[in-house]
Amino acid sequence: MSKLETPTKNTLTNAINNFVIRFANTNGTGSASANQMFAKAILRMGIPVSAKNIFPSNIQGMPTWFEVRVSEKNYLARRGGKSEVVVAMNAQSLAEDVQSVKASGYFLYDSSKELSEQYIRQDIHYLGIPISTICLKEYQDPRQRQLFKNVIYVGALAALLNIEFDALKSLVGDQFKGKEKLITPNIYALELGYQYANQHFTCPLPIKVERRDLINSRIMVDGNTGIGLGAVYGGATVVGWYPITPSTSVVEKFASYCDRLRIDPASGKKNYALVQAEDELAAIGMTIGAGWNGARAFTATSGPGVSLMTEFLGLAYFAEIPMVLINVQRAGPSTGMPTRTQQSDILSCAYASHGDTKQILLFPESPTECFEFSALSFDLADKLQTPVIIMSDLDLGMNDHLTEEFSWNDDKKYQLGKVLNAQQLDDIEQYGRYIDTDGDGICYRTLPGTHPEKGAFFTRGTSRNTYAGYTEKSGDYVDNMQRLSKKFVSACKIVPEPQINQGKKAAKIGLIYFGTTAHAITEALEQLKEHGLSADTCRIKAFPFNHQLGQFIDQHDDNYVIEQNRDAQMRTVISNELTIDPARLSPITNYDGLPITSRFIVQNILDKLSTELTKKQVG
């Protein structure tokens, strides 16, 4: 053992509140909740933190990793590269895990069994704790032996990294509220680890946390919770859904909040209806049926589900039915990597369905925006009488993010769009469902059961005239398609505008991005500065694009479209919609299934610039 403990290694510098710790676990062992507790304890010490669960499409027994980044500078994207601390609790992945430690970093492992020679590196520190032996001695039940292993290493890390023990204790209290019996054994397990580390190592390590006050009112939550809660606030009452990772928890969260917040106090009955459908076809069919009938309805899915839903998306577009689709994107095509993240459904959603279709897309960057866009999407769908698709992704949906707290303006009223009531119908001489009275391409609809004599019409996916009568006349068809185009232009005026950060004088470089790529941008800008480069940024929040995006591209010599798919799908849509020469937009595409890093972005920019420089020199 002495060779492991010989301090011949250098000490990491600048490691206070600035490091990455990677947990290697076996899935199905309860590690994720212990790791989340670890991250939250740091949050409660006022230090910005991010957590990424990198998990397999499996229930039990396969390797899973959990990365926690601690950053006083609020750099909360995945950092990439090797980690300062690795907690290796999975024998299957030891070889890989040893290699994932940064030079001079720390490798915490279960020393119940001696570590084999092949795992010994001379440039890192080893922290052996006989966790299995401790558990074997302390617990009788095999499941407890497993679960408390996780709690013990969290306790040890508290000593090693200077985490306040009280922060952990309060988290245990919160976690087991209502199950008080579990609090004492969990705190005891934390103590076991804490004491062991204190007795056997010099605590704390040079890598450590120190209390700060940098969180303010921010919360730590995942995007799917934001969307589910946003749908409750946005007034959704009907949900048809089919389970698919990573979207499942959107509906589960919606259901659990409804169970608390949507029960009629007088009757105890539900002010919502939720149906687990037989497939995604039925899920969206229910959503469309409800939207047609005037209820706010949504479904949630991921790429394969979107593929199944596309025929219906065409119907909803053409028949002009409000509905909301939540797409929590994952790596495709086909089953792809179902538990890894991507932004690779941009094309399949923007133009979802056969024929000429264009769908409204929203791109939230954070759980806060998930909440806001979710609530907003119901207003947009009702106002525009068309599907609205929220384009989240696995990283945003399933990982906890430090984000601004959710807020709601009680004065804000739902905007239900152009729906005529019986009185309004009485005032109209002759009602026509598809008459563009206001010239914005959005016509007045009626709901079944409104008026005994007026306002009824037949909704169909086939061509119709302005009075909803069946027609195959070319002129009627063309007029209708043109009106739908006009409606899309109207949509452009009410969807969220892009977020542009630009100085008085435009920089040479323009970065265009959307969704979770936002997390890496601030850091990328800092890194570019170190290379003497500055850049302006434009974050796309919605499709159709606002004219400001076109202006931004015009104003910059070097535009980069940064996205998380192979084919630069957003770049294609931008070129197509704004008629921009694709050569004006350099793609930066990350599609390995892991959240994009600032290093990747910066490296791509540097490579492009150096290639250009070489070309110039050669020229």
Partner: protein, 350 residues
Amino acid sequence: MSYQKSNFHHPRLPVNDLGLTYRDYEGALSTLCAGCGHDSITSAIIQACHELSIEPHKVAKMSGICCSSKAPNYFLNKAHGFNSVHGRMPSVTTGANLANRDLLYLAMSGDGDSASIGLGQFAHVVRRQLDMVYMVANNGVYGLTKGQLAATADKGVKNKVGDLSLFTDIDLCVMALQLGATFVARSFSGDKKQLVPLIKAAMSHQGFAYLDIISPCVTFNNHAGSTRSYDYVHDHTTTGAVVDYVPVKTEITSDCAEGVCEDICLHDGSLMRIKKLAADYDNKDAMKAMIDIEQHKKQGEILTGLLYLDPTGSHFHEVNNTTDTPLNQLDQDALCPGSRVLSSINESFR
């Protein structure tokens, strides 16, 4: 289409309780082939709705894609209709019903729409006990695409061009019975006397009502050798039990010999008088109904009439415990928990 329906009608047409004549229940002029069984179904629906004094605008007409799915355009002009996607009417109707439980959902489908592309949705909507009337105009053939065999065509029959039906047919009544439908009936578009009371009873039934209507296709499946032609169905129908639907306030006057009649009280107090043509017929036993259907089929017979009824069965909203107010009528106060609740939710994420 291009034809206008005449508004001209007899000045003394009988009016119902709402003061409406049957013409108030009509729709656009049918564009189906002359003699199509579906048009007879349309007229039976019009008669049933008129006689029951249904408020036309309180009906939602639902359909998928096929000849039969066009039919809702030809009745109840004052009701909203939704001609959705092939095979997906059940899910659209489910969503519509969840949004507003107060409407009457009259759905029309066909054998391709329900027994082939939409078989999954058919099965699940039965299973979910949606409160609706699900009618299938069953002609054993694809009309709009000109004569291909449907999954409901009997094994061994030939279509018009001579293609043989090679595989076992799907019987949607049997499936509905197996999956827990609380009202299952089969009828013939050419037998209005039987069909109209069945439609009335199905509309009054609370819960999932399935009505399979043999509706011959005059153009593609009316030839010798077809088991869905007018001639064949006329000659090979056996009726187990017929119903006489009696609205709540009408006194039962129809005479019926004791022992063969049974009155069943529906949720709204109306009565369904069931007249058993076969003395041993039992419409309370779903298992027996399935066996009866199959046994008659073996003998080349089509068993029609009310096959099964459970007036006490529950429907989706009861199971879900949905609030009585239609969900599409709940206001923001009932739906939005507000900012104070949100602050406490925020606390749970710190």
